[in-house]
């Protein structure tokens, strides 16, 4: 019977390929329109392309695509003109869009001077693999992100999309399960639990009604991998979800997507509809006797709801509060039925594994953590964006080769990995390979893929305080240690960063509290909440000491431990920029024409420092604040 599905698929595929091939006969302009692209002004760029193309009466299409991961260079546009190598342009503005239409589309000059990279090997212009980033980067699940139209299912089908689904419908569910188990696909939502094992536990349940849920809550406050994937290649996730449902024997699926991601929600809704129209979803999928439906549930902004049992409880219309295991969700989850919850990225790998086989998957990465890792690389890094590297790549390679290091000639200080559950690792830990187990040994955690690079201007006590404040606010309050322990820790850290804590014993107390919270919390929010504090205590002990004993913030970040000061020897009498920039009129002109700051009025907004022209750079920050007396005493002479 099963063969019917492959035949049906081949027809759908042929139609899609025909459509895409026809599309490629004419010039095509792809504009990156994921949230990151739009934020950088991609909408205006797209309109400029359209208008200019129209005014020249050209037969060229402008298509919205998602994010290709090079967020630092947004807005991005790709121009594919028949007879030319497709080229990608970065930092495109309206002017450049117009120029590209005239020079490239009307005439035949590809404007290499503005091109960033070529998408196909050629003799003239470098491709991604000619850059260090391209050498380390290996795209599995991000391969098509930013290069296909997420709103048109045919683009995905043309890339062999849904071929895996057609194939697995000819297999027994157990065979699919075995393949995923043999691939040792570990969950990409943070904990790295083997997906196959989880599915099997759910499949074994006698209850006929089962659910499978895609966790798109992405709560880490500095990460956007899942959003980017949902917006850029929604069908890959949907296909993974359908295949998993087949393997598990699930009857209904859900996308749980956080409210802050309206575009991702819209894209998934459109994609689901198109999948239904093509017969990939709904009753008798591709002519088989397998029925499956997917719905969308919009989260409502609570970090803890990313935790499986809290997520389920919020879908039931209740507060998202984690519950103890057992029973596991695979026994009793959504509506009390066996339920599988997996991360967006975990599902993305599934079609690839089913298409190419478990051995193909295992040939990348490390034996314990096969496959790739997807990260958002942000903070003080030259090439910020979304990257995908094989598991086992070191942090150093990721930061210096893929991300091209720290900009503005600043010193690297630490990398924050794993968000509020993770930790800050110093230079000495940069050779740790990225995989689930090695990172945990180093005191951090893989997390879901947020990676924030910190430099000499970032205070480690400050960042520990930031994450603790975050988890403190987000703690659901059920466990006493998580609720009160984090509060107590936050108070201590507040005191340290405000210069009120003078006793080094407070650091021991921080450690004790951290251990108590780890031991006494039910869910991983509490269990991992102390990690940012513990890793900074472990690796940046000196910074804590200096804050406490000298009242000094070496990174000049803790507001209460710094003052702004205008160095008379650097200040130009002729310039008035700082005076105008000050919102509180704290800056005045002294009798000798130099500028000075009235500390009583200063709100430390950083305006003057940012606006003082670079040839003077006369505004400086001093810490501890007492240094001011010394300075002013000195200059009065």
């Amino acid at each position: 019977m099963g063969q019917a599905s492959t035949e049906l698929y081949e027809k759908i595929k042929a139609a899609a390929t025909e459509k895409i091939t026809a599309l490629k006969q004419k010039p095509v302009v792809l504009v990156g329109m994921a949230t990151c692209g739009k934020a950088a002004g991609a909408e205006k760029v797209r309109e400029a392309f359209k208008k200019e193309i129209e005014s020249h009466g050209l037969e060229a299409q402008v298509i919205d695509v998602g994010c290709m991961g090079h967020c630092y260079a947004e807005p991005l546009a790709i121009i594919a003109k028949p007879g030319h190598t497709p080229l990608c342009y970065g930092y495109v503005d309206e002017e450049l869009a117009k120029r590209l239409v005239i020079d490239f589309l009307v005439n035949d000059d590809p404007c290499y001077e503005f091109a960033m990279v070529a998408l196909e090997t050629n003799d003239v212009f470098p491709t991604f693999s000619d850059f260090p980033r391209g050498v380390y980067e290996q795209k599995m699940i991000l391969e098509h992100c930013g290069f296909i139209d997420p709103e048109d299912i045919d683009h995905y089908i043309d890339k062999d999309g849904y071929a895996a689904l057609a194939k697995i419908l000819t297999l027994e569910p157990e065979e699919v399960l075995e393949e995923v188990k043999s691939a040792n696909l570990r969950g990409r939502g943070g904990a790295g639990f083997p997906a196959g094992t989880k599915w099997e536990a759910c499949r074994k349940q006698k209850e006929p009604v089962k659910y499978v849920i895609c966790n798109g809550d992405e709560g880490d406050p500095g990460a956007f991998m899942d959003r980017s994937i949902l917006e850029s290649n929604p069908h890959q996730v949907i296909e993974g979800l359908i295949i998993s449902a087949y393997a598990i024997g699930a009857t209904e699926g859900y996308f749980y997507i956080r409210a802050e991601y309206p575009q991702a929600i819209r894209t998934i809704r459109t994609a689901l509809e198109q999948a239904r129209e093509k017969g990939f979803l709904g009753k008798s999928i591709l002519g088989s006797d397998f029925d499956f439906e997917i719905k969308v549930f919009q989260g409502s902004g609570a970090f803890v709801c990313g935790e499986g049992s809290a997520l389920v409880s919020s879908m039931e219309g209740k507060m998202g509060i984690p519950r103890p295991r057992p029973p596991r969700l695979t026994t009793s989850g959504f509506r009390g039925k066996p339920t599988v919850v997996n991360n967006v990225k975990t599902f993305c790998y599934v079609p690839l594994i089913m298409k190419n086989g478990a051995d193909w998957f295992k040939s990348t990465g490390t034996p314990g953590s096969p496959g790739t890792a997807v990260f958002t690389l942000v903070g003080k890094i030259t090439n910020s964006g979304l990257v995908e590297v094989p598991m086992g790549t070191t942090l150093r390679q990721l930061i210096y080769d893929v991300g091209e290091g720290i900009p503005d000639e600043k010193e690297f200080k630490a990398v924050q990995i794993g968000g509020p559950s993770g930790g800050c690792l110093p230079e000495s830990a940069l050779d740790v390979p990225i995989d689930f187990d090695s990172l945990e040994e180093a005191g951090a955690m893989m997390g879901s893929g947020g990676l924030v690079v910190l430099n000499e201007d970032d205070c480690m006590v400050g960042i520990a305080r930031y994450f603790l404040e975050f988890v403190q606010k987000e703690s659901c309050g059920k466990c006493t240690f998580c609720r009160l322990g984090t509060k107590h820790m936050l108070e201590i850290l507040n005191d340290i960063t405000q210069g009120k804590e003078k006793d080094l014993a407070s650091l021991d107390l921080l450690r004790e509290l951290a251990e108590d919270i780890k031991a006494g919390s039910l869910c991983n929010l509490g269990k991992t909440a102390p990690n940012p504090v513990l890793t900074t205590l472990r690796y940046f002990w000196d910074e804590y000491i200096v804050h406490i004993t000298e009242g000094r913030c070496p990174a000049l970040m803790c507001k209460d431990l710094i003052v702004y000061y205008i160095a008379p020897e650097l200040c130009s009498k002729l310039c008035n920029v700082c005076v105008g920039s000050c919102p509180t009129e704290a800056i005045y002109t002294r009798e000798d024409g130099l500028k000075a700051i009235d500390q009583e009025k200063c709100v430390k907004c950083d305006n003057c420092l940012k606006t003082c022209p670079p040839q003077y750079n006369a505004v400086i920050k001093l810490s501890p604040p007492e240094m001011l007396k010394e300075k002013e005493g000195g200059s009065a002479k």
């Binding site: 406050p221 998202g320 709100v603």
Partner: protein, 179 residues
Amino acid sequence: MQQLLEGEKELIIEKVGEILGKHGSDRENLIPILQEVQDSLGYLPGLSMEIIAEAMDIPSVDVFGLTTFYNQFRLNPPGKHQIKICMGTACYMVGGRIALESFERHLKIGEGETTSDRKYSLETVACVGCCAIAPVVVVNEDIEGKVTPTRVDGLMLAFEADEQEEEQKEAEENEEKGD
């Protein structure tokens, strides 16, 4: 809780009734209903929660509890200009707090508040996914990147100019009507 404006009560009753009519009274629909009401009214007035609780036959404290548990729900009316400051890691580390304080200074309200004329509201959000251009501020639906205090001054000036223009238009229209 904020005072209801003239005619607001009727509007609430009408809109909430419509939305309740679309969904069943199943508990699972509670969050989607609250989300839709907020989309429609801009916030969740106390009255709306009471109506929902009664229609779904659950204690109104349950509804209140839920709306305070989830950060997305807004219990105060939003300003005409909704300003959301990103406090995600990347933004926080490069001056998100400074941007927030600049707005607070300008508007004389704190985080989570709305000015009494309901023109501006201030909120914080965690990572909107544009960390590459941190610090980020979302104004209504538009994303502003690299927001320094000077940029905040600029944004505020632009708002004020818009407001003045509108007021002038209104005044002119009123004058015409008066003629």
